[in-house]
């Protein structure tokens, strides 16, 4: 049984990684056909760095995801504190609202937001240009918020309410108690919510595709239009570089976490 599982796992990982290997190999190909390796070259990487527009799109993606996830984290954490203290009925309403963008297919979210923006911008405000950086930002904040809420709420629930009372008994003001106790307790939820929101933003193609105009385009949206044209192999080079960066970042994070876990474990034993 265990052996069968192991074999299955290996097969699945091969399945998951083969296309990426194909793309990475293609980035070193002299020809532009992905199916035929005609020779080794680094020329695609040179082309990639000469292409200012691709690098700028990457920057655009980073700007939007940093901004959107930051705003959503602050906004969402405050909202979670509020929701936590609502009466059960209102809380149910709030959680249903939170669930809508989580359950709705991305394409429906994208379409509905774009119709709203065009409807309000063009029909009501008479603007020519209703899909901009700001609409993209609003859309990203909107689909990021539920991730923050759903990560913070469980932490608030787990938190022992008497901790705040205890802090105030010990002479903290309400504000101090909030920062010293509540914030401390929910921090892991806030952080994982923020990280999730950030990755969701950075990766999002479908929603962005519907709510963005040519004045501000993110990388995934541009990649989509790239794949509809004769493919330019420098896009493979970019894929390879991003793969490396993410791989290194994730490994580093995992290693650091392992080390800190060990330390914690060691100090526990020490006591």
């Amino acid at each position: 049984m265990k052996r069968a599982n192991r074999i299955m796992t290996v097969i699945i990982f091969i399945f998951l990684y083969i296309p990426m290997v194909v793309l990475i190999v293609a980035s070193f190909n002299t020809g532009k056909d992905i199916t035929e390796f005609s020779g080794f070259t680094l020329k695609q990487y040179v082309r990639l760095f000469q292409d200012r527009s691709l690098l700028k799109l990457l920057a655009n993606s980073l700007i939007i995801s940093v901004l959107a996830s930051f705003i959503a984290t602050v906004f969402g954490t405050v909202a979670a504190l509020g929701i936590h203290n609502l009466n059960p009925q209102m809380r149910k309403v709030a959680m249903t609202l939170t669930d809508i963008p989580m359950t709705n297919p991305d394409i429906v979210t994208g379409v509905s937001l774009s119709l709203l923006f065009v409807f309000v911008g063009t029909k009501m405000l008479g603007q020519r240009n209703s899909l901009t950086f700001w609409t993209l930002l609003i859309a990203h904040i909107t689909f990021n918020l539920p991730y923050v809420i759903l990560n913070v709420m469980p932490k608030l629930k787990q938190m022992d309410a008497s901790l705040v009372d205890a802090a105030m008994d010990l002479g903290c003001t309400r504000v101090q108690a909030f920062f010293k106790v509540t914030v401390h307790e929910i921090m892991p939820g806030v952080v994982s919510g923020a990280i999730m929101a950030f990755t969701m933003s950075l990766d999002d193609f479908v929603i962005s595709y519907f709510v963005t105009g040519p004045s501000f385009i993110t990388l995934p949206v541009e990649i989509y239009s790239y794949t509809k044209k004769p493919i330019q192999p420098k896009i493979y080079a970019m894929f390879t570089l991003l793969f490396l960066i993410i791989f290194v970042l994730m490994t580093a994070m995992n290693l650091m976490q392992l080390v800190s876990d060990r330390k914690k474990a060691a100090s526990h034993i020490g006591h």
Binding site: M1, A4, N5, T9, I12, F15, L16, I18, P19, M20, V22, A26, I34, T35, E36, V78, A79, L81, G82, I83, L86, N87, M90, A94, L97, T98, I100, T103, N104, P105, D106, I107, V108, V111, S112, L113, S114, L115, L116, F119, I141, L145, I149, L150, M153, P154, D203, L219, I223, Y224, T227, I231, I235, Y236, F239, F243, I246, M250, T251, L258
Partner: protein, 274 residues
């Protein structure tokens, strides 16, 4: 207690979510029920929906098959990872996450390169003297694309539930005379139901609404509902019809997830995985 005092903090959030999730859906409904040319109330788009019912059934069929395949393929992987050592677990978890962070458009494009008639797999087959296979532009290729793209969404929630199963329960079952199969069927499987439901939803919803996978890996007779919606909006044919189709898709998804939730009785946190 001083409950209700900070409840007001949620008001901006409620306003925001109403403005950017509920109202847009009303706008979609408004577009769906108006005539594209004149802008007056009409059921023309709703009537036209019947034309696209076959496309809708096809989308549902493909994504159900994909979700089941993901479950069958993903379960052993999740089970295996959950029973590895701490370090290995972390590392394997990361390896499952990693593909999700890379552009799914380009990864799907790589499958085109692998599967097409003049693609890598067929070239290898031809080189060793085997006949070429017709793989791309078949329903199978579309399902493969879905399974490939959404498998991690199945493995991660499965892993999260399996890893929480108390090992003592399994020991207890073994002590009471269960064999391996029985332990799995009576203890492990029932306990992983929340993970299964959440995984199936997380695969089904994006799969049923995808438009890129079928455009790239499908042929002329594997058009999915997402394709049609995308086309109505982006190619300027008829956004009002597109709105009607989106509404239909949304209702479908809400009904499906509603049934799922009824099954598993999942709670507020039920949907947070990853």
């Amino acid at each position: 207690m001083k409950k209700n005092k900070t409840g007001f903090l949620s008001i901006p959030y409620l306003i925001w979510m109403t403005a950017f999730t509920l109202i847009p859906l009303c706008v979609v409904a408004y577009y769906a029920l108006t005539d594209p040319a004149t802008g007056v109330f009409s059921l023309r788009n709703v009537r036209e929906l019947s034309l696209y019912m076959p496309v809708l059934w096809r989308s549902i069929g493909y994504s159900l098959v994909s979700a089941l395949l993901c479950l069958v393929l993903g379960y052993p992987v999740a089970y295996y990872i959950a029973h590895c050592g701490h370090t290995a677990q972390k590392f394997l978890y990361m390896l499952v996450m990693l593909p999700m962070c890379m552009s799914f458009l380009l990864r799907t494009l790589a499958w085109v390169g692998l599967l097409q008639d003049t693609g890598i797999i067929n070239n290898i087959l031809a080189a060793i003297g085997l006949p070429r296979l017709r793989m791309i532009r078949t329903p199978g290729a579309v399902v493969l694309g879905m399974v490939y793209n959404y498998l991690p969404y199945m493995i991660l929630p499965l892993y999260a539930t399996i890893v929480k199963i108390d090992g003592r329960l399994i020991e207890a079952a073994e002590d009471l005379g269960c064999n391996g199969v029985q332990v799995f069927a009576r203890v492990v499987l029932p306990l992983s139901v929340p993970g299964i439901l959440s995984g199936v939803t997380m695969v089904f919803v994006p799969a049923v609404s995808t438009f890129y996978i079928s455009q790239k890996l499908g042929g002329t007779d594997t058009v999915l509902i997402g394709d049609v919606i995308e086309r109505q909006f982006k190619q300027g044919s008829n956004p009002n019809l597109g709105a009607a189709l989106s509404l239909l898709l949304m209702i479908l998804v809400f009904v499906c997830t509603g049934i799922m939730n009824r099954f598993g009785g999942s709670s507020e946190e039920g949907s947070v995985m990853v």
